[in-house]
Symmetry: D3
Subunit: 129 residues, 6 copies
């Protein structure tokens, strides 16, 4: 294992998600540990940790892409949460998802907004408790 | 026609594209003038002109979505150009397209980068002449 | 707010759905009231209310597109119901979804048919009660 | 070969396209003659020739789906032409493509309209000559 | 009905799925019996039963395509099970799904792997009982 | 740069493509050298070079996925060529593309076959010269 890339990715992902990466690794550990490792190494160790674009813009771009593609609601949920952690305001996230009505159609935007609503409600509950 | 939305959209689109909207309107004028009008009114008059998200982030989100969807290279070309006009650096655009390798696969990212290469080369030629 | 477009869209959507638009507006009211408004204004106020194509054909076209895209089952459910309200027979809806096996593959058609089955069963229950 | 399905499909396709199917068969004859045969048998022999939905509605549904999917411009060209042959007006075709801006986004609708423009111009040239 | 194609498809599907086709036929029998029949005749009677490619490779290709498309998890579940029945090892299936991270992005691969995990766990339970 | 992964990927890609990777690297060298490097490292150095699935099956899976997605004809062209280099017969490639008519629709299969026809014709010309 390339510890540099993995460790850089792990730190990046933990910084972005606010939690450890163990849950994701555990979930894939039995069936596909290498895909779990790749998911830490390439997206987070190689790509997202690069300079050249601030983390807020990276997360808004990911929210845009996942809303437009429309076939990964679990990942969209995680990335909306990471967008908030990166300092994006709720308003900015709502604007990006709304804008997807133009480029991917209203159903994609409405389904993306439904995911955002769930994430925001969960954050509100966590704040109150 | 709702002149407010149309005029607001026209100004927004002209500010973003650096040229008039007449070419787009002319192209659709005979076959679908109302789709041309809608394209000014809704995306530019209603959505992109909204406060709540800066224009740079809006354009990076659009470049992300069109790269990920992969079926609109003409529109991706136009929006990369508008991203530059909005103050995005080439490096930022390249980062967003590169990041799409994670979320939509390498072919989508490589095809998006090929479009960016054309746009950047055209800008270079225009600067020299 | 442009009351003409919103009111025209609201009437169009109420005519098509057989119910008020309040549920949809309420659902988005806290998080994205403007996306809710856009969803009434542009699809229903601007596009679907246009002359030039009868409402039955519009709904069959929408059922075709949502079945082919395959990533908006909630919206497909709503539009199959609106297709029935517009006077499409169950047989016509089944034919359109079946035809999508040709253009978008059997999984898309089978998933679309599963949505239609739910809508038809619900209509049957409502008739009996 | 199942001559009934093939012959029924051939007649259906010739009626719809206004020309023979030989060009399509010839094009695939060397590389994939069975895919050519399947394309006559299943879409035209089995599906489109069914009662239960008039041919105009079938063609508008296909134009809707291919515009929304956005990755088959050659087939969209052929089906817009067949929609005209089936008695759809240009206005109806334009309305269906415009409506796709709602469900699949503006780029999909604009690209579909560009294909329609080519088909209509070719028809105009053929009429004049 | 073309009994040859239907019977050939039924046998092929039963060989591949290890169970009868009655469940699928029953599920669609009331709403769309012809789509059920088409699903036996064309995919299994015409295509998958062809010589020229071994069944293992056919199933790995289908797992690849459904993982990449990402909008048919129910069908992906069925085809992973049929891939195991065709003699594919779990490792081979995991490799194909992992490889889709390259061509369709990490979310598609992770969602495909989640489906595989469910199929494998169900097989394990069935073996134990 | 991680020379191990890059060198392993370079050798894998050269073995598969039968030519050097320099053309691809050169093409992206000015605009996005890191995306070029990632394209060697991750798909070829990390994924395709893994044991657990033979190279023929890997290439047939990639041909299946790119045909189904339908938005990367340039990459499909390259991977059909690499499938031949990996020992896949033309018949096997044609079968995989034909099978995509079932899972992604006839337009996707017909467009994939058109790409295969170009690749096969080029190979024939190269053999004659």
């Amino acid at each position: 294992m390339d510890m540099d890339r993995f460790e850089r990715g792990r730190k990046q992902l933990e910084k972005m998600s606010g939690t450890g990466v163990d849950a994701m690794l555990d979930n894939l550990k039995d069936i596909a540990p290498d895909l779990a490792r790749f998911t830490v190494e390439f997206p987070y160790g190689d790509v997202v940790s690069r300079p050249g674009l601030d983390l807020k813009s990276r997360q808004l771009a990911t929210v845009a892409a996942l809303t437009a593609l429309g076939n990964a609601p679990v990942q969209l949920n995680a990335h909306i949460s990471m967008a908030l952690n990166a300092g994006c305001s709720r308003e900015e996230i709502i604007e990006v998802i709304t804008q997807m009505a133009v480029y991917a159609g209203f159903p994609a935007a409405l389904n993306g907004m439904a995911v955002a609503k769930v994430v925001f409600a969960e954050k509100d509950r966590n704040m109150q408790s």
